[in-house]
């Protein structure tokens, strides 16, 4: 799977999981922050997203969780995390 296809898949996962009713995949800029500014996600979303990554890709976030949340900074960093750590 190419990176862009993975990014697309992650965009769809974010929209579905977090029920972002008026957001389309094109609205998510891969370099824009996912949290607070940018897409406007919050602390509850961070927990939901962690669960979704686990379910979909078998990724157990590394124990040093604070730093693993840095992977959630934007879509590019999230895709890099999935790329390097996916089990399925």
């Amino acid at each position: 799977m190419t990176t862009t296809a993975l990014e697309q898949e992650l965009k769809e996962m974010i929209i579905e999981t977090l029920e972002l009713e008026d957001v389309t995949p094109e609205d998510i800029d891969p370099n824009e922050p996912l949290f607070v500014e940018g897409l406007g996600l919050d602390s509850i979303d961070a927990l939901e997203l962690g669960l979704a990554l686990q379910k979909r890709y078998g990724i157990t976030l590394e124990s040093e969780a604070e730093s693993s949340r840095q992977h959630f900074a934007n879509l590019k960093s999230l895709a890099a995390l999935v790329e390097s750590r996916r089990q399925k």
Binding site: Q8, T24, G50, L51, A65
Partner: protein
């Protein structure tokens, strides 16, 4: 039991080697324990800072996310004989609303985390004979009117509550790890004051994520420590099953949850994964702790020792409690309860206060803040039971602000959320937005529960349009609709150019018509149907439906128009079954 009252200043005569706090392992730094001597130096540091800061008000506004710095600063303030004012968060508007309340301490940058560089340098503490202040802390919470409400707590109120908890569930020297903010009463009592009064260490960092909790449990397991977890429903209801909790769960001693009721499902899952039941505490900033339960034993709540619970015929809760400002007087509360054989159950609230992700929010305050924004004429917020509980907003914008397409809609939502973010924390900002014009009402002039449900119907049904209101028009109705971005009818949804097929519009027209008119006929044919251009996801449009009835036939003239032009024109002929059969 080693409980000592705050009034007896249990922070002073600690053995120098006593461990006050546990500093969890960080990237390159192994974990370690903070001794009483080191902690006293932090209290002294804050005492110096207070000495150097001009303040004649006797109040200090403290927002400090670091538990060690927070506890040291709080004690330094008390030792001066001054009062601690705790803002609930550090949103700019929250802080400016409290500008009268003393001098601010803690990180100065709004929204910022603890600022170690800005903390004062170590200094030996000074123990004077100055009496403690009458009021220990003032908390702020959302009042029913939408205005922040100040709640003063005396030492005897806090001590009564801390003593109750110590006798029910002694900490016994175990490590207290918190997943909640100590700027609120629950976190303040459970994660800071209880450890101080019961001589148990607390974690020097909040444990925000399940993976962090896992690592810390592993650490406790390896070092023979046992942990007490002070948590809340948002964290407890999202414990990943993929983590293998079983080997580390023995390091856990007790789990507390407060802030909102935990669902039975979530409670069972926590019990199953962590191997311990959740002790839920019910209470509020106004009332302190009221009752507790363990759902695996009973769903009902039992009053805490020293708390008497009753209700009136409207089911309003009445309390007499040592945790209240006036301890011997029955006082009516905003919560609704019903008696059960073993205690009571919660029925909700009599006012418009809700909890989103554990954060208390007045819908009245949100309505007011939203209505005051530029371009907003009227607004009403409500909760939607989706992904737990989230806020939705019905907003009447001035006519030139109404978004007509996806791009404009997104920009409007982003702008409104950004402007609200000055007043509220992100999780409580509305997630679902309906832009109406005019204000949708029923025949009694009310935005009824039925209308509210109609406005969010598309969330339940992926094939439904987003309904935004309707009005009488010549022989029929004009309905304002939007094409939901994730509508099941939208073709090529995740491809380049998604559009709504024309036939979906005809289907929607028939659905609306069946609701608005008493159609007795069945679909016969489509006549002179034209689809000049397709509707795109996010487009807002007017659907005009004119109804004509003749001999044995009915027809529906249909027109859909957006700002970009017409999307469908034509006629749907209906025929009565009797006519068809004859």
């Amino acid at each position: 039991m080693t409980f000592r009252r705050l009034a007896d200043r249990p922070w002073r005569d600690r053995a120098t080697t006593d461990t006050i706090a546990w500093l969890p392992p960080e990237a390159d730094t192994p974990s370690r324990w903070l001794t009483a001597t080191e902690w006293h130096a932090r209290i002294g540091a804050w005492q110096q800072r207070l000495l150097e800061t001009p303040n004649t008000s006797g109040c200090w506004r403290l927002f400090e996310p670091d538990p060690i710095e927070f506890s040291a600063a709080m004690i330094a303030i008390w030792e001066r004989g001054d009062r601690v004012v705790l803002p609930a968060d550090n949103q700019p508007m929250t802080l400016s609303a409290l500008d009268e309340a003393g001098v601010a301490l803690g990180p100065t940058e709004p929204g910022s985390e603890s600022d170690r560089a800005g903390s004062p340098p170590d200094h030996p503490p000074q123990w004077h004979s100055r009496p403690l202040p009458d009021i220990a802390v003032s908390l702020y919470t959302s009042g029913s009117s939408g205005e922040p409400q100040r709640l003063d707590k005396r030492f005897d109120q806090l001590d009564a509550e801390l003593a109750t908890q110590a006798s029910l569930w002694p900490l016994s020297g175990r490590l207290v790890v918190s997943q909640v903010s100590h700027q609120h009463i629950y976190g303040l009592l459970f994660s800071i004051l209880r450890p101080l009064c019961e001589n148990s260490p607390f974690s020097a960092r909040a444990c925000r994520y399940p993976e962090t909790l896992y690592t810390w449990l592993q650490h406790c397991q390896a070092t023979g420590k046992r942990m007490i977890l002070v948590s809340a429903p948002p964290a407890l209801s999202r414990l990943p099953e993929a983590l293998d909790w079983e080997p580390v769960s023995a390091a856990l001693a007790t789990i507390y949850s407060s802030g909102a009721p935990l669902s039975k499902d979530a409670s069972d899952r926590v019990h199953e994964r962590l191997g311990h039941p959740v002790h839920e505490v019910y209470g509020s900033s106004e009332t302190g702790g009221i009752a507790w339960r363990v759902q695996q034993h009973a769903a009902d709540w039992s009053a805490l020792p020293g708390v008497e619970v009753s209700h009136d015929e409207d089911h309003r809760l009445w309390l007499r409690s040592r945790h209240l400002e006036i301890p011997d007087q029955w006082q009516r509360q905003a919560d609704l309860i019903a008696r059960t054989p073993q205690g009571f159950e919660l029925l909700g609230r009599a006012d418009r206060i809700v909890k989103i992700g554990g954060k208390r929010i007045s819908l009245t305050a949100m309505d007011q803040a939203l209505s005051a924004l530029p371009g907003v004429e009227r607004a009403q917020t409500l909760t939607l039971q989706r992904r737990d509980l989230r806020l939705a907003a019905i907003v009447q914008l001035s006519p030139n602000e109404i978004p007509h397409d996806h791009r404009h809609h997104r920009d409007t939502v982003k702008r409104l959320r950004r402007e609200l973010a000055a007043h509220f924390e992100t999780p409580v900002l509305p997630r679902y937005w309906r832009f109406v014009a005019p204000w949708p009402t029923n025949s009694q002039g009310k935005l009824s529960a039925e209308i509210r449900q109609h406005l969010f119907l598309d969330l339940e049904d992926r094939r439904a349009p987003r309904w935004l209101g309707e009005r009488l028009h010549e022989n029929g109705w004009q309905v304002t609709l939007e094409v939901p971005e994730h509508c099941a009818y939208v073709d090529g949804h995740f491809d380049g150019q998604p559009v709504l097929p024309g036939i979906a519009l005809v289907h929607w027209a028939m659905q609306q018509a069946r609701r608005l008119f008493t159609l007795s006929g069945e679909f016969e044919s489509l006549e002179r149907l034209r689809f000049p251009q397709p509707l795109l996801p996010g487009d807002r449009f007017e659907m005009t439906l004119d109804y004509r009835r003749g001999d044995g036939t009915e027809s529906l003239r249909l027109e859909c128009e957006s700002q970009r032009g017409k999307h469908v024109t034509g006629r749907v002929a209906l025929i009565h079954r009797q006519a068809r059969e004859s």
